[in-house]
Amino acid sequence: MRTLVVIAHPDYDNSGTQAFLQASAQSLSQVTWHILDQVYPDLHMDIIAERQLIQQADQIIFQFPLYWYSAPASLYAWLDQVLQTKHEETLPDFSGKILGLVVSTGTDQKQFAAGRQEQFTLSEYLRPFEGIARKVNLQYRAPLIISQFSYLSEQQKMHLLITYQQYLTLKTDHFAQRQTWLIQRLQTLVKNTEAESQLTGIIAALEANQEHLTDLTETLQMLKGEPYE
């Protein structure tokens, strides 16, 4: 899957979160990294070039820090100029493509709830992007939220690295897909490690578990009288 990451951040070079995400994506071959504020400091977009980037991608990610419950200005400039010009009467049709959001927040994610500090959920605040996706036939997927990056422990950061890589390279976050993804990544490591036999054993155990789980799921579907997908 080819993924275009459209980043809106007015102070990109000084963002620890963005630096971490960029380093996390570095080893992924089919990911295009596109920092709007650096390519277009004057926010005047090259519409043809931007549309080519969209056409080449299977998935488009809008990546930004949450500013006033929305995205920084450069993303809105991009949306205003690239999706539809004033001379065009029809909207673009991006059927078959996916729209994902990677949003960082300085506020704890728990505060985005009824009765808490931010009152509304992030799904509610980010609803306009879901509407935009629907309007141009993009399939909207659940956003990846990174809250209070600087407070994350080393373990949480490592988990974020993998979650982010999976978000950029998988179409969904279903357990079955994440399982296969991880096994494939380990397989690429086997050749480059001294612990080849150990790692081969671990992969075999993961695959055996995966198969066992599939069998159990099929049995359960049968017992429930549901078709197995």
């Binding site: 996390s24 080893s27 373990q155 490592m158 988990h159 690295l161 993998i162 357990f175 994440r178 399982q179 991880l182 990544r185 380990l186 490591l189 490690t193 612990a195 150990q198 790692l199 054993g201 671990i202 155990a205 993961l206 578990n209 995966q210 066992h212 789980l213 159990l216 799921t217 049995t219 359960l220 017992l223 429930k224």
Partner: protein, 57 residues
């Protein structure tokens, strides 16, 4: 080999891995192993429960 032994192996591999990204991958493998085990146990328990449900006999 049981899961606990595999997790110990993964922790050793993680300690020795020079690259941050590889260490992250090993850590995530431990999380996956635990999740697989939990899901297998849950599915087995559900199958057991449904099989013994006399109302569906």
């Amino acid at each position: 080999m049981n899961n606990e032994a595999l997790i110990q192996q993964l922790k050793m591999l993680q300690k020795k891995a020079p690259a941050y990204e590889t260490r992250a991958l090993y850590q995530e493998t431990i999380i996956l192993l635990k999740a697989q085990t939990r899901r297998i146990e849950q599915a087995e328990a559900e199958i057991d429960g449904r099989t013994w449900n006399h109302e569906t006999w």
